[in-house]
Symmetry: C2
Subunit: 216 residues, 2 copies
Amino acid sequence: MDIRRADAIADELEQLIFSGEFVDGDRLDENKLASRFGVSRTPVREAFQKLSLSGLVKQLPRRGVFVRQPGPVELLEMFEVMAEIEAVCGRLAAKRISDAALKTLQEANDECQKAVENGDADAYYRENERFHHLIYQQSGNQFLEQEALRLHKRLKPFRRIQLHLRGRMKQSMAEHKAIVKALVDANPEEAAITLREHVAVQGEKFHHLMASLKPA
Amino acid sequence: MDIRRADAIADELEQLIFSGEFVDGDRLDENKLASRFGVSRTPVREAFQKLSLSGLVKQLPRRGVFVRQPGPVELLEMFEVMAEIEAVCGRLAAKRISDAALKTLQEANDECQKAVENGDADAYYRENERFHHLIYQQSGNQFLEQEALRLHKRLKPFRRIQLHLRGRMKQSMAEHKAIVKALVDANPEEAAITLREHVAVQGEKFHHLMASLKPA
DNA sequence: ATAGCAGTTCTTGTATACAATAAGGTTGAC
DNA sequence: GTCAACCTTATTGTATACAAGAACTGCTAT
């Protein structure tokens, strides 16, 4: 348990929202949650503010806080932004990446490859994350890195879903190879283009997935 | 006065930090601020959380909250990110902007021109802001627009300073013209490049400014 | 029957009281 | 004289109490 219960509660609430216990539009009841977590309303309210900053809930004055999941359109927009941010990271990283980091990057990519061969989606997800985080880091811009991590985290639950689409992991690996090559070649524009496409395709895949589910 | 005092206090604190009453590293005393604003600690603490989300203060657990102004390096990083985000907005806007919006954009630019001729820095600042916000909006991506506005707002106090550099407004106008031309020509890459440079130069100008002040 | 209004209840926002921890000062030992 | 341990104090984090506004219900009037 954390020293600060408000933080722990924020994390738990985040999990509860991601896990689907609370869905879009639900009002989060301060009293119920307080007794559920065995605390007073104060830390619950602090947790709400933390969540509202990450955009998971919206606070209406004197009305309460409501879960706010992005709809299809907003999700597509978010993926578009993520794609552009990663493209920027890639462009900068191509100029600034160190040899050591390049080696680590290739290692992470090899682990991805192994995970694909084993059909281990969890391992793939983990190593893929490491791969991308390394690129953020090697942009050499810590502020950019933080922003990228923030958005990456927010899109996490939606990225996971479309991993299970048939053939996605394999295609993703091919894209990774192109990205690594661009970075090895120190080709900023190529790195930007390949990374942008790599991420944008995820958003489009997700969009198709949602569209195909909607009429059902 | 706002219904919610916590929000009003957050705004006031923001102003106090920007105005220089509180400087980097200062601890914000809950009790003192509470009595100063004539409220209890509760709304002050809520305001702190709001500020910490915009990055103006940092909360150390069990230690208190401290004002956190970005240093020269971080500021340069932030301007680099802002430049890239505006470049993205420009690239998308070049494809998506409406004729009506283009007209409004040119109007805003004309107002900028007038302000330069009159040497009215305030008017220039205002119309320049309108100019940029319009581009964010015409990216056609509301999420991107919000992110751009967020960062734009955070950089506000630093952008204002370097407006008073000799010849900056004039140079800025020339850059605006190039940007408008790229949008009129529906040339995405040109729009991206001109916007990126337009913003990046601000960061560099600021960096030089700080460097020249440091030894003094 | 329905629309509007008043009273009640429930919820949020704020104040105060309490608990726990970290900082600072004082005292004592070496 | 200095270092360390303990105690005091001050400040944060949490709980509870109170106030103010919103939603809901039931009544009344048209």
